[in-house]
Amino acid sequence: MEGDERVRRCRRRTRAQATLEFAFAAPLFLLCFFATIDAALWAVQSSAVVSAVEEGARVAASAASTPAGQRAPSAQEVTAGVVGQLKSALFATSVRTWTAACPAAPGDVEAVFGPRVVAVCVHENAPPPCTTPPRGVPAPYPLYCADSPTVSVRVVGFIASLVPPAFGLGWHGGEIPVDDGATTHTLRFAP
């Protein structure tokens, strides 16, 4: 009789231990599982962002590549050029055009458009205008005045993530910041 009771108690203890182990292991397992998926998604998304920035820089650099085109590249055109590439890779994240001066940090994009939005921004930097050089100084004057303008394309904002708070403390839950940019010279024909 006493032996049966001891066996039952032992079985109950084993079951309790299994439940406790499961309660500890299951959330850890799920966290690791989603983190792995998240890491893979991050790899795909960051790769898409790098390619989009590169393509955006090409689009922006050639915006005035015809003798008729002398205007600065527009952010809308660049966004239209890369949005397809970005949308197919960014899961649960929307892509917007940033028309004002480029945001300083991903947080600025979130403040304007809300969470899980990346913005495409374009900024052209014109060289100083050429003037008549002082005597003895070779043209073109001042230095760099004959350069074609530089154009910077940035993709900045927050992309969606499965595991809050993503890979680091201080980041917004369910989001990973992204800030990638490229600067190149534009192709301009002489007016």
Binding site: S47, P128, Y144, D147, T150
Partner: protein
Amino acid sequence: MTRRRSGGSAQAILETALVIPLMLLLISNFLALMVQVSVQEQMDSAVSLAAESRFQAPEAAHDSSGARCCPDPRCCNRASDASSLNTSGLPTGCRFAAETFYGTMPFERFLIWHPAPLCLTGGDSGASGQARTGVPYRDSPRDSHLSCVIGSTDPNGTVHRGFLDHALNPPFGLYVVTCDATATLDFSRTPLAWGVFWSPTIHAHAEAVPPPFRQ
């Protein structure tokens, strides 16, 4: 019974002590691999845009005295920048390539760059596999993170050839612009240092074919 129970918990502690460091080691190396792939992508992109940007400058344009390329193109009007590269007398295309590279590549502190001459001329892919490397321009800075073979015509009318790629337009080949960058990822400068014991060297190479109006 009590002895058996304490034996069981000792075993659990031992298993945890073995498994957790191993798991953390695996995770750190996985993260390091992701960082490597990400840096490689960014370097490929920066080098590729740099090679193409050479064609935004006229073939015969050369930088006048005092011209410099700053690591950040937005500060290039400040000639006093100590870390800038002196591009006086070099083809303007070399500066354009460098400005594009420095303006695109994020410079992380765990990257150890391999310095090289900024601007070279010549070089050949070799019709029979005997490749030749380019020769640096006389005034080229030697400590650039980017190295490009760029053809130009200098103010005296001397033609400096680009890199002759025999794989294009056979059997004559085609003069192209090539750019290269090499860096070593030093994980000892990152929080992953405790578990990542490898320092891979990554290299990016890009070739740009002249646009139709330049061929």
